[in-house]
Amino acid sequence: MDDLTMLRDLGRTLEHEPPPSLVRQRQRLLEGARPHHRLPRLMRGWALIGLAAVVTAAAIVVPVLILHPRSAQVAVNQPDPAKPIKELNLLVLGVDRRRPIADGKADPEGARSDTVMLVHLPADRKKVTVVSLPRDLMVLIPPCKGLEGETIPTHLGLINSAFTDGGSSCSAKTVESITGIRIDHVMEVEFGGLKRMVDALGGIEITLPQAVRDRDSGLDLPAGRHLVQGDQALAYVRTRHSLGDGSDLSRIERQQQFLLAMFKKVRPVLADPIRLPVLLHESSKAIKISPGLDAQAMFDIARSLAQVESRDIRSITVPWRPYPPDPNRVEMKQPSADKLFAGLGGTPPKKAGKKAR
């Protein structure tokens, strides 16, 4: 067989049939045939925002645009009368509703908050701080209402168990009690929804330093750069045994990188009249905000963030150290953790530093 024939054979094995979604590109062409709209300034501003924006962009801007697809453009063009901007603290929970199969103990809801992030937006909106709280963090969970209405007393437990016990309100209460920071809104981002968002974006590019085969998460990829879609993307942010040092902490880093990659991917979509609605639709299904925000409130937040640039975003993990009774868990390192929270306007209770010891 000569080389051209072999090459043609290779080509045939690599070829894919055009998917039905190719029709979107036709729409794009027809849209492109019309005069261009300038990208609203709000959106261009977003292009510069980093991680926190991913969280907030997805959670805030997106629902606004769904509610009022044209409102962003209109509102940006007419500057709002100076409205007082308040400090805002958002708790972002990455929620996993898979039912654990291998887990020994029963898990009635099968819902866990594997990612816990506190997003602090000061009143001047000059800096944004994102504090990740490892899910293996041992904390004192305050009394919460259980899912069946029962009262769960104060106890020492993993931070993510608060969500399993009493849902997002219990998570918020716990974070408020350990940080002394008042939480204004909780955003639950479903991993399953994340998957659909990634698909709507056409996949996210990741780089693997080595080949990964992880049974737990179902990730099976060779080393190198990959464009991951739905399930693989989900596996990538979930896996922890086969990447990094196997800890939740290295996973947090990976999630942060992933969200950043995702945000980069969102940028061109914001300007794409065909793909944007698809993304918006998926995002709205993936995110739940409580207490809810009305369209104006969400828009105001989004607008107040439009000037924030990526260098103004600080993304950190709460200072931690191994938890002596169990090396697989961690606890907050004091006094640096309290110092961090105090810097964000919190008043951590004195005993907070001692309870997990």
């Binding site: 080389d3 094995t13 979604s21 036709r26 794009r28 062409l29 492109g32 045939a33 056409g202 464009l227």
Partner: protein, 193 residues
Amino acid sequence: MTVPTTAVPRDSDLIADSRTEPEAFAVLFDRYAGMLYRYVSRRMGPEIAEDLVGETFLVAFAGRSGYDLSYADARPWLFGIITNLVSRHRRTEAAFYRALQRSPIEDVAQSDDDRVANGVTARAARPLLARALAGLPARDRNVLLLVAWSDLSYEEVAQALGVPIGTVRSRLNRARRKVRAVLGDSNPMREEN
């Protein structure tokens, strides 16, 4: 038998029409989007192919006033545009070939029963071919893959890339020599001009 030209407008007619009626350009999309998608899915994988096809038509549309209407067939033009766009994604293409060198066949392409006979040889040669392609300079690879994976003639490839036909021939020969070198000397060499 010749098909009356009035029944099916030529590509150049559509392009001419689109200068006053932009919608006419969509017919060109319907004709060639699938073809371009298949081509670019071979070079870059399916994930990015869709977007590149969309971009190709946007670029083509924007440049429609400069199209030489004496060329009835728009395929070389479109292949030329998509080749340029592929060059902008050199890293993605390189990563795609790297993945090909490692991954088993099932990961990348859907298996197809009636191709199994050919597939066996292709499978064995696949990592080598991928390595050879990855090692080629982009200009040589563009010629080689347009010749091998599109239905364009040498002349049309020359038109697509905006180079003389002699350049197409010399780049093709150089590229094939390198591919054969990577494949090893086990294959009978057949020079083809």
